[in-house]
Subunit: 110 residues, 2 copies
Amino acid sequence: MGLTKNEIFTDVQNEMALFSKVLGHPARVAILQHLFKINRCVCGDLVNEIGLAQPTISQHLKELKQVGLIKGSIEGTSVCYCIDSEKWSEMKLIVSEFLNQDLSKGKECC
Amino acid sequence: MGLTKNEIFTDVQNEMALFSKVLGHPARVAILQHLFKINRCVCGDLVNEIGLAQPTISQHLKELKQVGLIKGSIEGTSVCYCIDSEKWSEMKLIVSEFLNQDLSKGKECC
DNA sequence: ATCTTTAATCGTAATATTGCAATAAATAGA
DNA sequence: TCTATTTATTGCAATATTACGATTAAAGAT
């Protein structure tokens, strides 16, 4: 065990979980916020900004890139990262739909 | 290591990550969806509905309860669970604010 | 009182995550 | 070419997560 049984869930459930998971670490939240503020930045900026070691930041960037929320392009010796707004919108749609579920009105339960 | 350095992040970042983390597993997503559809249900229902073992479901319920998204009340020999709509709204606010960040218009970056 | 039903807890195995030091790779500049 | 500079990768240790069988606990039914 120790691994999630994705087979038994719907695609939407798995996708919702996947996006949520990547947002489930404050460093990745901070990276995304910084990217929104600055629009584009290199790994070193984030190391200074956030205060985790360079390999750690690099790893978080990799995870964000893997789900597609950011993209990076080589720029001399450094790598410029930024939000992939297309993917961001896609996520927004899925997450919003989930968040905006309504209780079947009335019965307040327990 | 192996544990997140929460000290170096803001409260909002940590809270955002905490909520996201709990949504970061399809079983918990499925539980919440089912609760929204049915309004109230007992652990056994979820075991049948989702198809994970009872202790596993119980554990996921515990995590959802810990962050406050659901509440449970004893009802005879079973436990009735439902969404805590107050906490849900709180989460919605935090997550929406994060999702609705805008790119500083213009410069499309990399 | 005993049995049944239901859920929580305990214990454990497998795997994933977080973080960093050390190292590698790749480009720019001297 | 040699040296910085910058980021990615590797390897590792500590901890967390996922899942479930076995057991416990608590309330209802007989």
